[in-house]
């Protein structure tokens, strides 16, 4: 790995998780306040997560195994927030049906 590739790769890896977190936060906030615009912004953030994963796959000198893992986790990032949200809602409804 060249010196500049090192910093670029590390930055891409950090931004990748950051974008995933941004998506999770925006999506959750959108659901919370029923704001479709926020959910859409979250969607854009996830698209960014995916683009970052692709960039890592194409552009960086990481081993193919790591690239695959990152692409796969980009997909997992997509499902975590909606899955968690739905699950929490279901628990909550069972618990406090009046709400």
């Amino acid at each position: 790995m060249t010196a500049s590739a090192l910093l670029e790769t590390a930055a891409l890896l950090g931004l990748f998780v950051l974008a995933g977190g941004g998506y999770g936060s925006l999506y959750s906030a959108g659901r919370l306040w029923s704001r479709p615009a926020l959910i859409r912004a979250g969607g854009i953030c996830w698209a960014l997560t995916f683009v970052l994963a692709l960039t890592i796959a194409i552009h960086t000198p990481l081993d193919p195994g790591w690239k695959l893992l990152i692409l796969a986790s980009a997909v997992v990032y997509a499902v975590i927030p909606p899955l968690t949200w739905r699950y929490l809602e279901r628990l909550h409804d069972e618990q406090e049906p009046h709400q």
Binding site: A3, L6, L13, G14, F16, V17, G21, W66, T84, H92
Partner: protein, 464 residues
């Protein structure tokens, strides 16, 4: 108030005091990077750093103990069993910490023999306390475990949170025993030592803070038990699933077999995923129960914990957890940046939340709000973010100039340490360290002053 809650307040007081000692030695340690000849042969960097990180571990442990002694009687509905022993242990703990601190400051080191191991320093990073004191810590933790288990038995009641807590205390205590062996083979020694450090911060402590946060959520936000418990089970499974074998990210370059490169990289790359789930959970809870919170500072600190854990451990960890990156970043200020951010986000924020829970109950106000806590919150967070950014800059400069370009020679290390990026990162860390210290002062001030009585109805409607 239960007797064990009074003990809890004592633990909190000791914890906050040691937090202060830790900050003082953090600032001192930071100064050596700018004035390397400072206090040469009087009080060297390594002693200052030992004071800094050992007090870190001790004050967080005291905070955890305080939180559990606080909630245990509430959770089980009876006074904690064996209180006299618990109270005795508190004083033994404090006296032992004081003696060890005095030895570290005034004796510092001895010859490489058994005597030094027993009475001066055991030499394992983060848990340097000499053997007699380390045995003391085992006894304190064992009594603590006894308190918890005996109270559960006496109450004939086990809640889900209590099960998780009890089952977690066993490995938590067991891996601490790794502080003891005196193995002369460096690889073997480090191999086991990492069980202690990694299995604490990325497994057993995560579970412990998960239990504490579950209790706080029920208390402060009125979240139902069913929700926090079901969530806790899932979280624990995911965190342990990735965290235990994530251990491998410390086995890249210490002489352990090559397969650890794959195992460590793979499992630790999964570690941010459950942390993302926690962020979603925090937002859900914040929103659904927002109107019910009567303890603003605790609420904000729990939220900060969820985000801080994700960013400090998740993002900062992920950046350098793949072996191809870690080859260059290993042991630089980059690691220090992650270490600060993760410890702060995952644990410090959580402990501060429980301090505010105690403050509300001891002062008996219906609503805890006000202005001072916001300054503490702002300065501590701003100071920490500033510090870790400075450290990241410095660490990247080290990895770039010292490792990738310079090829990790001593000369390259030295010239990277004089590099302008590195030096400005060190100054930034010092500056923001002072901001952080100011935040600590405000925090202590706010915790100690009686809160204003705010009418509940008005404050609830106030957006914050």
């Amino acid at each position: 108030m239960y007797r064990s809650q009074k003990l809890s307040l004592r633990y909190y007081t000791a914890a906050v005091a040691l937090f202060g000692v830790m900050i003082v030695f953090g600032l001192l340690s930071a100064l050596y990077y700018l004035y390397p000849a400072m206090l040469y042969n009087v009080f060297d960097f390594h002693m200052s750093k030992i004071m800094h990180i050992d007090t870190l571990v001790i004050w967080l442990l005291m905070g955890f103990l305080g939180a559990v002694y606080w909630y245990l009687p509430k959770e089980l509905g009876i006074e904690v069993e064996g209180m006299w022993l618990a109270e005795l242990m508190f004083w033994i703990f404090c006296v032992a910490v004081a003696i060890v601190a005095l030895v570290f400051v005034f004796v510092q080191y001895g010859s490489a023999n058994e005597f030094s191991m027993w009475f001066i320093n055991q030499g394992r990073k983060y848990v340097e306390a000499p053997r007699w004191a380390a045995i003391g810590i085992v006894v304190v933790m064992a009594v603590f475990a006894y308190n918890v288990i005996a109270t559960c038995i006496k109450a004939r009641k086990m809640t889900g949170i209590m099960w998780v807590l009890v089952l977690d205390l066993i490995p938590l205590l067991a891996v601490y025993l790794d502080a003891f062996p005196a193995v002369t083979n460096m690889s073997v020694d480090l191999y086991w030592w990492w069980w202690l450090v990694h299995m604490w911060v990325e497994s057993t402590w995560e579970v412990l803070i998960g239990c504490v946060m579950a209790l706080v959520l029920m208390d402060v936000m009125g979240t139902s038990r069913r929700i926090v418990e079901t969530w806790l089970y899932i979280e624990v499974m995911l965190v342990l699933g990735a965290g235990i074998l994530g251990l491998g990210h410390h086995y890249f370059w210490i002489g352990t077999p090559q397969y650890w490169l794959g195992i460590g990289g793979f499992f630790s790359a999964l570690e941010p995923l459950p942390l993302l789930g926690m962020v979603v959970h925090a937002i859900y809870d914040a929103g659904t129960h927002r109107m019910k919170t009567t303890n603003q500072p605790a609420f904000f600190w729990i939220t900060a914990e969820a985000f801080g854990n994700f960013i400090g451990a998740g993002i900062w960890g992920f950046m350098m957890t793949l072996p191809q990156i870690n080859l260059f970043s290993h042991g630089t200020q980059w690691t220090v940046s992650h270490g600060h951010f993760a410890f702060y986000g995952a644990y410090v924020c959580g402990i501060i939340a429980v301090l505010y829970v105690a403050k509300q109950q001891t002062s008996g106000v219906d609503m805890l709000a006000g202005r001072a806590w916001k300054w503490g919150f702002g300065l501590l967070n701003f100071g920490m973010v500033g510090m870790v950014m400075g450290l990241l800059l410095a660490g990247m400069a080290q990895a770039f100039y010292g490792r990738a370009i310079g090829g990790s020679t001593l000369m390259a290390f030295t010239s990277a340490s004089e590099n302008a990026w590195f030096v400005s990162g060190m100054w930034a860390r010092l500056f923001f360290g002072f901001v952080f210290a100011a935040g600590y002062v405000v925090l202590v001030y706010d915790l100690l002053t009686a809160p204003k009585r705010v009418p509940v109805t008005r404050a609830r409607l106030e957006p914050a």
